[in-house]
Symmetry: C2
C-alpha cells in the first residue's frame, strides 16, 4: 500500500455543461481540460501533465478506435501517453483508478483523467443499439431486452422481496431533480413531484420515463498529482484514499441475486479496506442512479442502508441535502445527466467541489469525506472511490 | 521507480492459434487464459488472479461495451476487477502497461493481461470501417484514405528521402514469412520470395498485397506477478524492466515527419531511461510490422538502425534469425497475423518463450534481453516494453 504522501490527490477539475449540446467531442474535451487547468489555485502548465486517461464508451462510433489521442491533441500535448479505458458506464471510474495506479506505482507525478461522451448526435434508431452494448449481448441484447428492461427486472424483484414502495423510486427522482436545480451544469433544471413521476409514460414496468436518466452530452476532467507535490498547486487538495473495483456476470440470469449488485458490494469492501475511515464517516456520496432503483440498490450494497431499508431512508429524507447522508447533491445521473463515459469523472468533480467547500448553493456543510460509485452496464463492473479533504 | 523486487514479471503465457478461426471471442479468451494458467511451472490457481486487463478494439462490434467482463467470466472468476484498455492496434501493449502499474503501485500481486480480437466474422463490407476507425476520422477516414493508403504515404516519403529500395520492403515480408514457418501458432505457413511480393496485386502504391498484414482472429494471455513472489510459480520468470508510451497526432498532415513515428521514438526513450540496459544489449525484438514499411520505420525509430539505414540492415540479413538483431522471430504481424487487440500480448508471449529458451525451432540462442513495440493506428499511440530473463 502506498504511504499517504504517495497517494494521488485531485488539485483541479473541470466540467462542461451536461445536456443536449451543439459541441462535438473535441470541443467538449477541450473545454473540460481547460476548465481543470484553469481551476488549479496556483496554476498548472499543460506541460506538467505526464500521462492521460480517457474514459469513454465511444457512443455513436465517431473515432471509435484510438480516441484517447484526441485527448492529447486537445490538451495541446501531442506526445503525452494517453489511453482509453472502457467499461461501459463505469469507464471514467476505471480511468480514474488507472490514473491512481500510475501515480502510486511511481511512474507518474501528474496525471489527467477525462470522461467524455457525445450521445445526442447518434441517429435515434441507433441509440438503443449503443446503449444495449453495455449489457449482455448474447442473452439480453440480442433477445430484445432493453437497458430499462434490465433495471425494471431488478426493481420488480426488489419490490417483491422487500415491499419497496413505488413512491420510494419516485422520491429518488424528485430529490435528484431538486438537487439539480442548484447545479448550473445539470441537464435538467425542473422540479418534479412524486405524482408527476407516477403519471409519466411507462418505459418498462414498473419504471416510467422519469425513473430513467436522460441521453446526454458532456465531459469532465480531473488533475491528479502525487499527494506530496500537491502544495505546489493548491492548499486544498482532495486525496484519494481508497479505491475498489469488481465485476460480475454480464447477464442477470447468471447472478446470485437480483436485489443487489455484487460488484458494488465487492468494490466497496475493497475500497473501505484500504481507506483510513469507515462508512459512518462519510459526509456525502455520489451514487450511480442510472435508474431510480439503482440508487436504492447502491445505498444497500454500499452499506449506507440495511437490506431493504433504502426506501425508508429515502422517503424519510435521509438522502436529501440536509439529511443524514446526502446522496447526489449534484443531481445525479437522473437529473444532472448521464454522458456514459463522463459520469465517473463528473462524480469525482462534484466530490472535489464539495470537499473544498466550493459547491455553492448545494454545499454539504462541513464535508470532509466522500464516496463515489460508478457502475458499468447493469452491474457487470463497478468502482468505488473514497476521498478525504486535504 | 519500483525496486527490482517490486517490478512485474511474467510467469505464464498462453496463445491461441492465429488465423481464420471458427471459435468466437469467448472461446478464444478461454483458451488463451487456460493456456497461460497451464504454462505456469509450479501451477497457478485461477483464484490467485486479483485483477485483469483486456486489450481489444472490439472489432465487429460484438459486445462492444463492458467486454472486459467476458474475461472475468471465461477466467471462471466473476467478481475479479477487469477493465478494457483500447488504443487501437496498441490496445494490448497499453493493457500490459496498466497491469504493470497495478503491480508496481502495490495494489496487486497477480494480474492477468489478455489481448483479443475476433475479426473474420465482421461482414466484409464493414471491415474497412472497423480498420479505419484506428486512424484519424475527420481528415483521413471520412475523406476516403484507407489504412494501407496511410502507410503507403509513409513508404513513399521514406523511399524518396532515403532511397529506400522496394526490395527492402519485400525482404521484411520474406523474412517474416520464413520465421512464421517455425511458429505453429502463425496464420501463414508459406515461404514467399521477393519476386512474389513484387508481383502481388497493388493495394496502395507502393504497397502490394504481400506488404500488408492479414485479417486475423486470436488471443494471447500473460500472467504477471510481483517479481519478489515469482519463485512461487517458476524458476524462470521474465521481468519487465522498463515501459514507455507516447502519442502523436492522429492525422498524418499534423505530424512533424512522415519518415519516422515520433510516438515510437518517445516511447523507446522513456523505456530505456527506466531500464538497466541499452539498445546494444538486446537479443531480439518484436516490432509492429502491420505493413512492411512499418518494420523499417520501427528499426530506425527504436535506434536499432540509423536514419535511412534499416533497409540495408534488412537486406544484409541483420534482422533475420541468426542476424545481429533478430526481429519478429515469431513471424510478426505480417505472417503470424494481426488480431488487432491481441498483438501486444502476442509479442510479449513470444518474448516470454524466447527469454526462457522455450521458443523451439525459432529460438534465438542465448536470448537474455528483449524489446516489444506495439503501435496504435498509424502511430498515434505506441508502447515499448523491455524484458530481461530472470
Amino acid at each position: 500500500m502506498p504511504t499517504p504522501s504517495d497517494r494521488a490527490a485531485i488539485v483541479g477539475a473541470g466540467h462542461t455543461r451536461f445536456g443536449v449540446l451543439t459541441e462535438g467531442p473535441r470541443e467538449l474535451l477541450s473545454r473540460a481540460v481547460a476548465g481543470a487547468l484553469g481551476s488549479v489555485d496556483r496554476g498548472m502548465d499543460r506541460g506538467d501533465v505526464e500521462e492521460a486517461y480517457l474514459g469513454s464508451l465511444g457512443f455513436s462510433g465517431w473515432q471509435l478506435g484510438n480516441s484517447a489521442t484526441l485527448l492529447a491533441e486537445e490538451l495541446g500535448r501531442p506526445g503525452v501517453p494517453v489511453s482509453r479505458v472502457e467499461n461501459a458506464c463505469a469507464s471514467a471510474g476505471y480511468a480514474l483508478r488507472a490514473g491512481v495506479h500510475a501515480i502510486e506505482s511511481g511512474a507518474r507525478d501528474v496525471v489527467l483523467v477525462v470522461g467524455l461522451e457525445k450521445m445526442t448526435d447518434a441517429p435515434s434508431r441507433r441509440r438503443r443499439y449503443w446503449l444495449g452494448v453495455s449489457g449482455d449481448t448474447e442473452w439480453e441484447r440480442l433477445a430484445g431486452l432493453t437497458f430499462a428492461g434490465v433495471y425494471a427486472l431488478l426493481a420488480s424483484c426488489h419490490m417483491q422481496k422487500y415491499g419497496t414502495p413505488r413512491e420510494a423510486l419516485a422520491e429518488v427522482a424528485v430529490k435528484n431533480h431538486r438537487n439539480a436545480l442548484l447545479n448550473p451544469n445539470a441537464q435538467f433544471h425542473k422540479a418534479i413531484t412524486r405524482e408527476e413521476v407516477a403519471r409519466a409514460p411507462r418505459v418498462a414496468d414498473p419504471l416510467g420515463l422519469m425513473d430513467c436518466c436522460p441521453v446526454t452530452d458532456g465531459a469532465a476532467a480531473l488533475l491528479l498529482v502525487r499527494r506530496s507535490l500537491a502544495a505546489r498547486y493548491t492548499d486544498t487538495p482532495v486525496s484519494i484514499v481508497g479505491t475498489g473495483a469488481a465485476s460480475d456476470y454480464l447477464a442477470l440470469q447468471e447472478r446470485a441475486s437480483l436485489t443487489s449488485l455484487a460488484a458494488t458490494r465487492r468494490a466497496a469492501e475493497e475500497a473501505f479496506r484500504r481507506a483510513p475511515f469507515d462508512r459512518r464517516a462519510l459526509s456525502l456520496a455520489e451514487l450511480h442512479d442510472c435508474f431510480t432503483i439503482a440508487e436504492l440498490l447502491a445505498l444497500e450494497d454500499l452499506g449506507l442502508a440495511g437490506p431493504g431499508e433504502a426506501a425508508r431512508l429515502t422517503l424519510d429524507g435521509g438522502t436529501a441535502l440536509g439529511g443524514a447522508i446526502p446522496i447526489n447533491p449534484d443531481g445525479g445521473l437522473k437529473a444532472k445527466g448521464h454522458p456514459i463515459g463522463a459520469t465517473g469523472a463528473s462524480q469525482a468533480y462534484e466530490v472535489f467541489q464539495q470537499l473544498r467547500g466550493a459547491a455553492g448553493a448545494r454545499q454539504v456543510p462541513h464535508a470532509e469525506r466522500a464516496l463515489s460509485h460508478n457502475v458499468g452496464g447493469s452491474g457487470a463492473s463497478a468502482t468505488v472511490t473514497l476521498y478525504e479533504a486535504g
